[in-house]
């Protein structure tokens, strides 16, 4: 984001002499330009100007050559010889550009450079080096490190160089004592990507006088000839306009003849560019970069002699390529807008740049260029944005074009460029510009002044509204009938609706002036929905039962699938995949919470924690490969009901799940009881507790008895004999609980018999009634309590036997509890005993001995149907 240098800002707006960057940041944030960072140099002195008096190259064994230099740093800082005379300091310097009589920047012992690099006298290469000649990088000025700073090359004028004194403070000279402010520019304020814009905003914030630089340059702009074609012929041929807009609506060229290619960029410009984070390259390039930062107009300088007019702005053809300035060869799309020229009369046959994004290698300004062509254009925001996105090539130019560049400033910006090129490069500007101008003036907004009150509740007079809008550059007309006609300035394409103007008024009046009021919401249908309450109940039930809630990232990969003994290929087909995952190894969204919950358990166990019991409530994602494609619909228009349905139809199913993972001891060893290891029952008991908490009856079935297994039940993950499928009484499958398969437990590195569960809460909640429970009357007749023990085949489950008992006993069964189980022994191989305590109670009478005997007999008879024999 842009850097603001107060020294540069004050060219366009008056600032107080003692303005600090901190104060500047406060002033700018008030109008919406937020501070990103303050860049202050960490260099502390002494850092001084010195002159290399002599140097001796000394080749080293390692092949390097170092220079033993004597550097005059002035009377105050020079060394003292044995006779007490002041003499130049001896300094070792490895830079290749050391030269006699060069003025350099010297860090003397005691100085501290960025990175806490303390300069001290030290013995090296057989000498005592008494300071350091610095490069740009060593001072944190830029990345430049090809040699030390030679002040002669820094663009100082002869007068400036002559005025330098040896021993002079270089911290001040190099502006290291002046921090810069980096600001954030929101996408609507493209114009603030320039000093012109930031200065205007500073004026809005402080009221200090502002001069629009464009208004100064405009006075000197020569008129373009009739038809727009001046020195250089150009044409715009767009046969593929995007969204109905021609890619280039203004193309403006100015030639400069007799340019001196050896001329230097002045020091002030080099310094400003460097402080803005740009590398000075050559005068022609630096001027275009400088003016882009200053005015916000991206521009390009070509070697005029290399171009064959006409210059043609056109879309790329199928199969065309361009090698851009960064050296990359890029296949072009027919949506890419190009700058081309016409060698040998073939119009538009040679590509010289990707319009508004990056130039090509041909046509560049070189050290031999004598005649220049300066291009200032205005391109369609959408076209530039797409090209930058397509080629992953966000540039300083594209960033500005995407956000919208002033449609009127091209001649003035070009004027600024040719003035600088002629002042510092002795070129002669041609006064015959080419100007193809098809820009459309901004449309006037019909602005009801009452909108200010309606949206932000500020009482602002019509006069004040009018003067604020004029101050931001609008042309205001009318207003007598409460409706103003407001034409936004050409640099504010973001102002299109009345609410945009309201924001301008509110921010300049100050958001603090807006009153404060709490709106009374209409209280109907408020409160949590039943499902929102239920989610909380499930969560608190599990936490109360000893599990700790965790939240994991939903990302998984092949390795996670393998951990759970799942086939990565078939899981990938069922998984939603991310195009740009953070870690390439986890590109999928989880299909089960357990897959990411297990990673949390592992992390805890690896940190030395025992008996880890955790749960998570969150969404999982199920890809449906046959889902219809999601349509692209425009914003700002309500889609039809069919279109809305099509949007949702393409989305993956993403139900809310709850999962738990229970490891280690179920009951911890204590002084009052023995420990017990976790097993399947710890998972099932949590599931049953959840069902009880929600008031829903569940059916627990072993996979072997389930019939056709649900397609998303991942059998390989689970212990085949210690896992239950959990359903509702209508047969709807809602989840699974039990022990993990020993292989999975081994893969995870968690204790044996670790148990887990996962339930689909969305499905579960969908089947619950929101109606209040209808309570049964409580019988006060006495109960009859009996114990019934049956001998059955091992294959018969307790759920089957219990169901039979319930059915046979009917309404009088008040409770039934399985209290004892044993296998084999006296019963014989393959048999087990299930003993139940039952209680009968009638709602209408006291049960007699005959009554209870009859019930018992009916249970025994019914139990025989599944081969259960009463033992006692």
């Amino acid at each position: 984001m842009p850097i603001v240098d107060i020294d540069w800002l004050k060219e366009h707006v008056e600032v107080p002499d003692d303005l600090t960057v901190e104060q500047l940041a406060q002033d700018l944030v008030r109008v919406g330009l937020e501070e990103e960072d303050i860049h202050a140099s960490s260099v502390t002195g002494p850092l001084v100007v010195g002159k290399i008096v002599d140097f001796t190259p000394e080749p080293q064994k390692n092949g390097k050559t170092i220079n033993w230099c004597h550097v005059d740093v002035g009377e105050k800082y020079n060394a003292t010889d044995e006779n007490g005379n002041k003499v130049p300091r001896g300094i070792i310097c490895g830079a290749p550009n050391v030269g006699k009589d060069e003025l350099v920047v010297v860090a003397l012992p005691g100085a501290v450079l960025p990175g806490d690099f303390k300069i001290a006298s030290r013995k090296t290469y057989g000498h005592v080096s008494d300071g350091m000649c610095c490069s740009q990088r060593e001072l944190g000025l830029s990345d430049e490190h090809n040699g030390i700073i030679l002040l002669r090359e820094q663009g100082y004028s002869k007068e400036e160089l002559d005025a330098l004194e040896l021993g002079q403070d270089a911290i001040h000279l190099l502006h290291l004592d002046r921090p810069t402010l980096e600001i954030n520019i929101t996408p609507d304020r493209g114009y603030a990507f320039s000093y012109r814009g930031v200065a205007r905003e500073y004026h809005h914030s402080t009221g200090r006088p502002y001069t629009d630089p464009i208004s100064l340059y405009e006075k000197h702009v020569p008129k373009a000839p009739e038809g727009g074609i001046g020195d250089v012929e150009a044409k715009i041929v767009d046969d593929n306009p995007l969204h109905g807009v021609v890619g280039c609506d203004r193309y403006y060229l100015r030639a400069v003849h007799g340019f001196n290619p050896t001329s230097h960029t002045p020091n002030w410009m080099q310094r400003r560019l460097t402080r803005a984070g740009m590398r000075p390259i050559s005068l022609a390039v630096d001027v275009t970069n400088y003016l882009m930062l200053d005015l916000g107009q991206p521009m390009h300088a070509y070697d005029l002699d290399k171009l064959n007019p006409p210059i043609v702005i056109r879309r790329a053809h199928e199969g065309e390529h361009l090698t851009t300035l960064d050296g990359k060869d890029r296949p072009l799309s027919t949506e890419d807008l190009l700058i081309t020229d016409s060698p040998e009369g073939n119009e538009g046959s040679r590509i010289i740049g990707l319009a508004g994004v990056m130039g090509g290698l041909y046509g560049e300004v070189t050290a031999e260029t004598k005649n220049l062509l300066v291009e200032c254009a205005h391109f369609d925001q959408v076209s530039i944005a797409r090209t930058a996105r397509r080629h992953k090539l966000p540039s300083e130019a594209s960033r500005r074009f995407e956000r919208g560049v002033d449609i009127e400033m091209q001649p003035a910006a070009a004027q600024a460029a040719v003035e600088l090129l002629s002042r510092y490069g002795s070129g002669e500007p041609s006064n015959n510009p080419t100007d193809l101008n098809n820009t459309v003036d901004p449309e006037a907004i019909q602005f009801k002044v009452t909108e200010v009150k309606r949206l932000v509740d500020l009482d602002v007079s019509v006069d004040r509204i009018s003067s604020i809008l004029e101050d931001i550059g609008c042309v205001v007309a009318g207003g007598g009938n409460g409706i103003m006609s407001v034409t936004p300035p050409p640099w504010r394409p973001d102002l299109t609706m009345p609410c945009d103007l309201v924001e301008e008024i509110a921010r300049l009046v100050g958001y603090d002036e807006i009153p404060v009021r709490v709106p009374p919401a209409p209280v109907n249908d408020t409160g949590l929905t039943p499902d929102q309450s239920r989610q909380r109940w499930v969560s608190s039930t599990l936490a109360e039962s000893g599990l700790v809630e965790t939240l994991s990232y939903p990302f998984v990969g092949d390795a996670d699938y393998k951990t759970f003994a799942l086939d990565p290929e078939s899981m990938a087909a069922r998984s939603v995949e991310i195009t740009n995952p953070l870690g390439g190894d986890r590109p999928y969204l989880r299909t089960d919470l357990l897959h990411t919950l297990a990673l949390t358990a592992q992390r805890n166990i690896r940190r030395g924690l025992d008996n880890v019991k955790i749960y998570e409530i969150g969404h999982v994602f199920h890809n449906d490969p046959s889902a219809p494609p999601i349509p692209a619909l425009p914003g700002g228009v309500r889609p039809t009901d069919e279109q809305l349905a099509a949007l949702d139809a393409g989305l993956p199913d993403q139900p809310l799940h709850v999962a738990g993972l229970i490891t280690g001891d179920a009951v911890a060893k204590g002084w009052y009881e023995d420990s017990r290891e976790v097993d399947w029952s710890d998972a099932l008991s949590r599931v049953r507790r959840i069902a009880e908490r929600l008031g829903v009856e569940i059916v627990v079935t072993a996979p072997a008895n389930y019939g056709e297994l649900p397609s998303t039940y991942e059998a390989a993950t689970w212990h085949p004999g210690r896992t239950a499928l959990v359903s509702l009484t209508d047969g709807t499958w809602i989840g699974v609980a039990g022990e993990l398969h020993p292989h999975v437990i081994e893969n995870l590195g968690i204790p044996a018999h670790s148990a887990a569960f996962e339930l689909d809460l969305t499905t579960l909640f969908d089947h619950l009634s929101d109606q209040p429970l209808q309570a049964k009357a409580i019988s006060t007749f006495p109960p009859v309590k009996q114990d019934l023990a049956f001998s059955v085949e091992e294959s018969v489950t307790s759920a089957q036997l219990e169901a039979v008992i319930r059915e046979a006993a009917g309404d009088v069964l008040e409770s039934i509890t399985l209290f004892d189980v044993f296998h084999g022994g006296a019963l014989g191989e393959g048999k087990k005993s299930l003993a139940y305590a039952v209680a009968f109670r009638s709602s209408s009478k006291t049960l007699t001995a005959e009554d209870s005997e009859a019930i018992r007999a009916s249970i025994v008879e019914k139990a025989q149907e599944i081969g259960a024999q009463l033992r006692s």
Binding site: E503, R517, R603, H619, L651, P652
Partner: protein
């Protein structure tokens, strides 16, 4: 033979022994010895019948007195001994109640979840509804409906996770799925407007996703709370009032908010919201907390609502940020790693 002297001395002896008895068992034995079937007292009582009539009355009166004396002495001693024995029994059962016990170990809620519930409860108390939407969302709800056009620069600045696919094409002609991991809970705004209509006062808390690497202050998966109110006559003043009320609910009576001009495609005017945080380390100060503004007319139009009749405000705040501030947590890792020691620090109700 009624031996007055013998029975009197026997009962006197019995009472003396009762008074010296040291256990209820001994007491019972003494009762059998001195008042039981074989005792002098029983023998004397039986022999009264054989006395001449003139002697019966005096003998009867004597026996009544002796029996009453014995009974009183027994009862008094029995009460005394029972109390003593009960006390001994209680002493014998005494344990060290300071020994640690935890027969039903408690788990813990995650503080992010409980904070989101607190935020929901705040809105419910204001008469608002709690809404939610999908985490894998269509680009239309996440961007287009919120006035981020297909080529809007802000759309590229969202650090979006895109869902892989090649069946669909976006409005700019790029092939894809037209689905993203929602970058903001604002994606629930237009869903709420379309399904619930106006007037509407909804808050959505939920997970959002951005392609930021996890570090001390960033996480790619985080939580937001979005608030949206659309009604006749709502202004930015109502926005400021609601924000201040939420700040007070979250951070105490001294908390307040401040707005700075900013930009979001889905609001106009837009603002960044700073929170005045009295407990800020190094002294009270402003801390960036979220974005807000008046609902952009194009967003209302996306839901078929006439912006000339209805106005609305919306804001979004980061839940992690609020939690870090409230509990002086310095590292985002603690919030996302699921270390049970972290969650267990928080009481369940907190």
């Amino acid at each position: 033979m009624f031996d007055e002297q013998a029975v009197t001395s026997s009962v006197t002896e019995g009472i003396e022994k009762i008074q010296k008895a040291s256990s209820t068992d001994e007491l019972k034995a003494l009762r059998a010895q001195y008042a039981g079937g074989e005792s002098e007292m029983t023998r004397a009582s039986k022999s009264i019948g054989k006395l001449p009539p003139e002697g019966k009355k005096a003998a009867g009166q004597l026996m009544s007195k002796l029996r009453a004396d014995f009974g009183r002495a027994f009862a008094a001693k029995e009460t005394e001994l029972k109390e003593l024995e009960e006390q001994k029994a209680l002493e014998a059962e005494t344990v060290d109640v300071t020994m640690p016990v935890d027969r039903h170990p408690l788990g813990a809620r995650h503080p992010l979840s409980t904070l989101m519930e607190d935020i929901q409860d705040f809105f419910v108390s204001m008469g608002w509804q709690i809404a939610d939407g999908p985490e894998v969302e269509t680009e239309w709800y996440d961007f287009d409906a919120l006035n981020f056009g297909p080529d809007h620069p802000a759309r590229q600045m969202q650090d979006t996770f895109y869902v892989k696919g090649d069946k669909a094409q976006d409005a700019a002609g790029f092939k894809g799925s037209n689905m993203v991991m929602r970058t903001q809970t604002s994606s629930d705004q237009v869903r709420g407007l379309l399904t619930r209509g106006v007037p509407l006062y909804i808050a959505c808390t939920g997970r959002v996703f951005r392609t930021d690497e996890l570090d001390a202050t960033h996480t790619p998966v985080f939580h937001q709370c979005e608030a949206l109110a659309v009604d006749k006559n709502l202004t930015m003043a109502d926005l400021k009032g609601t924000l201040d009320a939420l700040a007070v609910a979250m951070f105490g009576p001294e908390a307040k908010t401040r707005l700075r001009p900013s930009y979001f495609p889905f609001t106009e005017p837009s603002a960044e919201m700073d929170l005045w945080f009295p407990d800020k380390k190094g002294g009270p100060g402003w801390i960036e907390w979220g974005g807000c503004g008046m609902v952009n007319p194009n967003v209302l139009r996306s839901a078929g609502i006439d912006p000339d009749v209805y106005t609305g405000f919306a804001f979004g705040v980061g839940v992690e940020r609020a939690l870090l501030l409230r509990h002086d947590i310095n590292d985002m890792h603690d919030l996302v790693e699921g270390d049970i020691r972290f969650s267990k620090q928080f009481a369940m109700g907190e």
